[in-house]
C-alpha cells in the first residue's frame, strides 16, 4: 500500500491490519517514525526497493501530492510517475486499487482531456492523467474517487490536514478577510474512514468492482457551502470558548463577482505583499466553493455535520497554537 503515512494510507494500513489481512506492507516517500514496517520508496524517483519486489494479490495506490499549487511538472512527477512506478510490482493477477479524486473529471465531466485548461488545477489534471495511465497499464483495476476528505466520522482523527482545514487555518490566522464562495454550492466532504472501509472491502472481495470506477461522495446530499461553514466555525468557536479564547465571527461569504469588483481592488491598495500573496494562494481553494453541479456517487455518504464537528475539534486539539490564535483585524501593516 503506497502513501502509507498519508491521510488515507495511514488509516487504511491500520484498518487492513486490524481486519487480519495477511502480509500488509506500507510504502511511503518519507518512511515513518511511528508506523512499523513502512518501506521507504520515492515513487517519482526510483525503482521499488527489494523488500517490495514480490507477487501481490492487491496493491492500493494511495500515494499522491494533493497540493493544488504544484507546477505541472511537480504534479506529473508526484501523481503520474508514481502510477508508472508500480508496474514492476503488478502481475496480471494483481488487483490494483487506485485512489484518485472525484474532481479528476475536471470542468468537462470526464478524464479524457490532456489539456490543463479543462481542469481546475494541476492536481485534478494530473489525477486524470494518472487514471488514464492506470487503465492502460493494469489488467485488474478499480479506481476510487473521493471528494475532499476529513477526519474519522466518530472522533475526527486525521494524520494530515488539507482541503477543508486550509479554510480553518485561514480563519484562525486572520488571513481570510472574506470567503469567496457560492453559499448554495455543494461542499462535498467525506470522513476518511468511510473511504477506507470501502477500499478495505475491495481488497477483501473485489467482486463486481474489478474494472470499475467508484465515486464515494455526498452528491445531492452533500452540505451546502454556507451550512458547512456555519458548522465548522461553530465547532471551532465551541473549542475556543471552552478554553477561554474569544470566538471568531462567521466569515462573510461573497460571490467572486463582488470579490473581483469591490474587495480585490481595495486589497491591492491596502494590503502588504505578503497578505496579497496569501490571497493569491487561497484563490486555489475558490473553485471548490462554487461547485453547483453535485457529484454522482456510486457510494453515497450522508450526515456530515457531526463528522465536520469532530474533525474541527481534532484539528484544534492537534494544533492548539493555531486554533487558539487571537482574532486580528485584517488590514495592511
Amino acid at each position: 500500500m503506497t502513501g502509507a503515512t498519508g491521510l488515507v494510507g495511514f488509516e487504511l494500513l491500520e484498518l487492513l491490519r486490524s481486519r487480519g489481512a495477511r502480509d500488509v506492507v506500507g510504502a511511503s516517500r518519507r518512511g515513518s517514525e511511528t508506523v512499523p514496517d513502512v518501506a521507504v520508496w520515492d515513487m517519482s524517483a526510483g525503482e521499488p526497493p527489494p523488500e517490495l519486489r514480490r507477487d501481490w494479490d492487491a496493491i492500493v495506490n494511495a500515494a499522491a501530492d494533493t497540493r493544488w499549487t504544484q507546477s505541472p511538472e511537480e504534479a506529473e512527477r508526484a501523481n503520474v510517475a508514481s502510477v508508472a512506478a508500480l508496474e514492476p510490482l503488478v502481475s496480471d493477477a494483481t488487483h490494483v486499487i487506485h485512489v484518485s479524486t472525484a474532481y479528476a473529471i475536471g470542468l468537462r465531466g470526464d478524464i479524457a482531456s490532456p489539456d490543463l485548461a479543462d481542469y481546475r488545477n494541476t492536481y485534478e489534471w494530473s489525477k486524470a492523467h494518472a487514471e488514464r495511465l492506470a487503465a492502460e497499464r493494469f489488467t485488474r483495476l478499480t479506481i476510487v474517487r473521493p471528494p475532499l476528505i476529513v477526519g474519522r466520522r466518530g472522533d475526527g482523527h486525521a494524520v494530515r490536514f488539507a482541503g477543508m482545514y486550509l479554510v480553518l487555518r485561514g480563519i484562525t490566522s486572520s488571513t481570510i478577510p472574506v470567503v469567496v464562495a457560492n453559499a448554495d454550492a455543494y461542499f462535498d466532504l467525506i470522513p476518511v474512514d468511510d473511504l477506507t472501509e470501502l477500499i478495505a472491502d475491495l481488497v477483501a472481495a473485489p467482486g463486481e468492482a474489478d474494472g470499475r470506477t467508484l465515486t464515494i461522495a455526498g452528491g445531492e446530499g452533500a452540505p451546502r457551502v454556507a451550512h458547512a461553514f456555519e458548522v465548522m466555525v461553530d465547532a471551532l468557536n465551541a473549542w475556543r470558548v471552552e478554553r477561554g479564547h474569544e470566538p471568531f465571527a462567521q466569515p462573510k461569504l461573497v460571490t467572486s463577482e463582488s470579490w473581483n469588483r469591490f474587495f480585490l481592488p481595495f486589497a491591492r491598495d491596502q494590503l502588504t505583499s505578503r497578505q496579497l500573496k496569501i490571497l493569491e494562494l487561497l484563490e486555489n481553494f475558490q473553485p471548490y466553493l462554487g461547485i453547483e453541479t453535485p457529484l454522482e456517487p456510486t457510494h453515497p455518504v450522508a450526515d456530515m455535520d457531526d463528522p465536520i464537528r469532530a474533525s474541527v475539534g481534532f484539528w484544534a486539539d492537534s494544533n492548539e497554537r493555531a486554533a487558539g490564535l487571537a482574532p486580528r483585524p485584517w488590514k495592511g501593516d
Binding site: 518519507r30 517514525e33 511511528t34 497540493r67 499549487t69 494530515r160 490536514f161 486550509l166 487555518r169 490566522s173 488571513t175 502588504t272 505583499s273 505578503r274 500573496k277 496569501i278 494562494l281 487561497l282 492537534s318 494544533n319 492548539e320 497554537r321 493555531a322 490564535l325 486580528r328 501593516d333
Partner: protein, 86 residues
C-alpha cells in the same frame, strides 16, 4: 532575549504550526520536506513570527533560500540584530 532563547522561540513556533509534527525538531529539519509546510503555511508562519517576536515584515528577498528551521532561526536573528545591539 538571548540568541538561544530566540532560536527556541522560532523552533517552538515552527513546531506548533507544522502540519507534520516530528518526534524531534532540530535546526536541520526541512520546513517543507520534513514538516509538511506548504507555501501558504510558510507565509502564515512568517506572519506569526513577526507578530510574536515584534519583527519588521520579512521581505521576499529575506525569504529566498529558507529551507530549514535553522535558516529561519538565522533570518530572525539577523532581523533582530539591530534591536538586540541596542
Amino acid at each position: 532575549m538571548s540568541e538561544e532563547a530566540v532560536r527556541e522561540r522560532v523552533r517552538g513556533l515552527a513546531h506548533d504550526m507544522a502540519p507534520i509534527k516530528p518526534a524531534e525538531l532540530t535546526s536541520a529539519s526541512r520546513l517543507m520536506a520534513d514538516l509538511g509546510y506548504d507555501s501558504l503555511g510558510l507565509l502564515e508562519l512568517a506572519g506569526l513570527l513577526e507578530q510574536e517576536l515584534e519583527l519588521p515584515a520579512f521581505s521576499e528577498d529575506d525569504a529566498m533560500g529558507i529551507e530549514t528551521v535553522g535558516d529561519l532561526e538565522q533570518l530572525v536573528l539577523r532581523t533582530l540584530a539591530p534591536v538586540r545591539r541596542r
